[in-house]
């Protein structure tokens, strides 16, 4: 059967100020196919998709939908044309049910017929294999359920062209597999699907074709069957790159951080961490694996003095091989720092916690040293120099050190944060989802930086979600399951299945 062109973008250009996010980009999507849109951070993927969704209007270029040239001036125009986008950040109302969210904003005549809506939602869900309760409130839903609602929302509006912006970034392995099955059934139903993801194995698993963008321009389109992770990476980066993660042997590992019986509860009194004990050694990368939200955040924040811990918890910090340890529990971050504890922390929420988005690079470097100046004046010269050095060493793409970090792309934001934390010469370096949302190239830069710290004798703690990376990068992997340590395995010998099993061990109902 001859494939039918669902949508064509031709010579699309979109500039923001002086920056061209898209430059003469062309793209075709056919009915009944999954197209992966691939590119590094800041290569213009999201901009291009937002143009389709009616959020941006292109400076020039043509868009053809179903053979007709169209003008998409608003999200409503996009919906009328059958284009539906599932954004990276969900746009749902927490207090409403799934069905209510799905019909929200639809101006249908007559009164709201809940029964009919529910029936229609159920019908859609059955057709594509979604598992959803239309009467459930959004605030009661898991991330993957919320995503299901977002997808149903666009299907309900009659979308025949679906755009998904990094849909798997927030999902577990199992949830991702489920989503892919749904995408396949939608494809078989004749829908055109565009998916943005950074994970190459997902690109290879789900898509029929791959379109690659590089620096806002087309870098080629290939059939997935003819592509490999290696070839796609080279298209994306524009040169040959090695996809092996380095793992040097640990040299003389000595305990730097000894965590004992660490427990904590959340605001509602539920146990989040239950008697977690482990040792992080200098010269070693300790991975922490687990299904998202099973205590990783609380563990790192608890160690850093940012999350209240239960009595009996203990975190001992050993400054060197002989010195007496310092107890960190019960101290606030400011006090921990005053004690000379060289603990660096790259938190999950980069712009909301690790950095101040509206401040420039130099002022974000100042965060760690503002108190060092004399006479109550904050010394800005040191941080400026540090910012310049970090920009140079980590190859941060920025107009200058006076640019607000929120204007940088995700990868560059993370480089600023990691660069600052490493510049403190830490003994212990904790990182939470250090490569989340980053493109391949930047991810490898980050792995390299962590390895460098490891070789310097730093105890690196790496909370990650990608099991392949954890198994390639880490010396030991601690697996958390429902707030407990379900095992600590050797990164060199453990298998993916073993870790996967430990991740769900001890949970009610077993695996998801």
């Amino acid at each position: 059967m001859e494939p039918v062109l669902a949508l064509e973008m031709k010579d699309i250009t979109k500039t923001f100020g002086d920056v061209a996010a898209n430059c003469n980009v062309s793209l075709q999507v056919y009915n009944g196919e999954v197209l992966s849109l691939l590119g590094e951070n800041g290569s213009g993927k999201t901009t291009l998709m937002n143009i389709l969704a009616g959020i941006y209007y292109p400076d020039h270029g043509q868009i053809t939908v179903g053979g007709r040239e169209v003008s998409i001036r608003s999200p409503k125009d996009a919906i009328d044309l059958g284009i539906g986008m599932v954004h990276q950040h969900f746009k749902l109302v927490g207090n409403l049910t799934a069905a209510e969210n799905i019909v929200l904003g639809l101006r249908e005549k007559g009164r709201l017929d809940r029964k009919k809506i529910t029936a229609k939602v159920k019908d859609l869900a059955d057709r594509y294999g979604f598992n959803i309760n239309p009467e459930k409130k959004i605030y009661d839903m898991s991330v993957s359920e919320k995503q299901t609602v977002e997808i149903l929302k666009v299907l309900y509006r009659g979308a025949s062209i679906l755009i998904l912006d990094e849909p798997t970034a927030v999902l577990t392995l199992q949830e991702t597999e489920k989503l892919f099955n749904i995408l396949r059934s939608m494809r078989d139903d004749g829908k055109a699907i565009i998916i943005i993801t950074h994970k190459l194995h997902e690109v290879l698993a789900i898509s029929d074709r791959v379109a690659v963008l590089r620096k806002g321009e087309n870098a080629g389109t290939v059939k997935t069957a003819d592509a490999t992770a290696q070839s796609l990476t080279e298209m994306m980066v524009g040169r040959a790159v090695s996809l092996n993660i380095d793992r040097p042997e640990p040299v003389n590992p000595t305990p730097r951080l000894v965590v004992k019986n660490l427990s904590c509860v959340d605001d509602e009194g539920f146990t989040v961490l239950d008697n977690v004990s482990f040792t992080a050694n200098g010269g070693e990368i300790l991975g922490i694996a687990g299904i998202s939200g099973c205590g990783q955040r609380e563990l790192l924040e608890g160690i850093a003095g940012l999350y209240p811990l239960m009595p009996g918890s203990s975190v001992l910090y050993y400054p060197d091989d002989t010195g007496a340890p310092t107890e960190l529990v019960g101290k606030r971050p400011g006090e921990i720092r005053k004690l000379g504890v060289a603990l660096s922390f790259v938190p999950e929420d980069r712009l909301g916690m690790g950095l101040v988005g509206s401040m420039d690079l130099a002022d974000n470097m100042l965060l760690r040293s503002y108190n060092d100046g004399k006479l109550g004046i904050a010394d800005r010269r040191g941080p400026r120099k540090l910012a310049e050095r970090v920009v140079k060493q980590l190859g941060i793409v920025t107009p200058g050190i006076s640019t607000p970090v929120s204007k940088l792309s995700g990868g560059n934001v993370q480089k600023v944060l990691v660069g600052r934390e490493i510049s403190l010469a830490p003994q212990v370096l904790m990182t939470a989802y250090a490569v989340r949302g980053l493109d391949i190239n930047t991810s490898y830069t980050i792995y390299g930086l962590l390895n460098e710290q490891k070789k310097k004798g730093v105890a690196v703690i790496y909370v990650g979600e990608d099991l392949d990376v954890l198994l390639e990068l880490c010396d030991r992997i601690l697996v958390l399951s429902a707030g407990r340590v379900s095992g600590i395995v050797d990164g060199r010998t453990a298998t993916k299945e073993e870790v996967g099993y430990l991740m769900t061990a001890g949970r009610e109902g077993g695996s998801v």
Partner: protein
Amino acid sequence: MNGTTNHRHPGGEPLVRIVKRADIARGKAWGIRIAAILLALCAGGLLILALGHNPAAVYIDMVRGSLATKTAMIATAKIAIPLLGAALAIAPAFKMKFWNIGAEGQIMVGAIAATYLALFHYQTMPRPALLAAMFMASALAGGLWGLIPAVFKARWGTNETLFTLMLNYVAFGIVKYLRMGPWKSPSSAGFPKIAMFDSAARLPNVFGVNIGWIIVLALAVAMFVYMKYSQHGYEISVVGESERTAKYIGMNVPRIIMRTVFFSGAIAGVVGCLIVSGSSYTLSDTTSGGYGFTAITVAWLSRLNPFPMIVISAFLAVLTKGANTIQTNFKIPASASEVLTGMILFFMLGCEFFINYKVILRSRRRIEVPND
């Protein structure tokens, strides 16, 4: 499912598009601001025309009435001084995103503290000591008045907007009580008011205006340095932008909130002292005179930067004084001159939109692909 899909759009650009500007040249931004003021004057001119007067004559009279004579200038300065002071007081709190709309009340309690010393201790201290004590007492009183909502915000996360607003009315009430009762002047036959200050408790003049103008200008410079270069200023910005980052980095957020709002209230308290000892020489229900509220406009227009604050509070003082003048000279009702002031402010605030965004009108013809 595509049955409802509606292909009703021919190729074509929307008529008006609004795009965020990446950056704007300084000159262009000021060009937009000046254009806004000119437009405001035109719009105001229409209002004046509708009232049956000659706009040019009215505008000239406004400027003349506020700047032409020495008396006029002194009267204008007396409005500008507390306005600038109150805007400076609000700035650090607003920078921290602590919406202190209680400057009005903080001015009042500062004025009460100063008045207490002026009324009851003017004989026990030499003049410089008395004035210094008045300033310190008013700063302390204003600071403590600000500290109350700050403590609640820092400890229990209460809403500071309502809290500071309500405390204004408490402060007004206290002044009313003092005027009617304990501090009622025995010499004021029948009408309850507080006595005028002894000359020892009045601020000296420099170039015909009370020394307050030097104090607020010095304060503006000090505030600029404090906000831009000090560790405290940096802490305030970080807490304002992201409390989580502040905690992550080890800042003591509750302490910073309490310290900053105390400081903010203290400056407002000093403004209260400047008003009672510099221009009104007594405490009354109208001592705070709305400066605490107008200062919010000044602070916003100047984006919390002390130097533009000087210009803007002077400008607003000219408008206020000028509006008074045209009331008497042209018999323009007070409400109409307030509308005029409001219109000018509206245009000035509105033009910020055009500085941040650019409006693109459909211009060029696109080559349309013929539909088959």
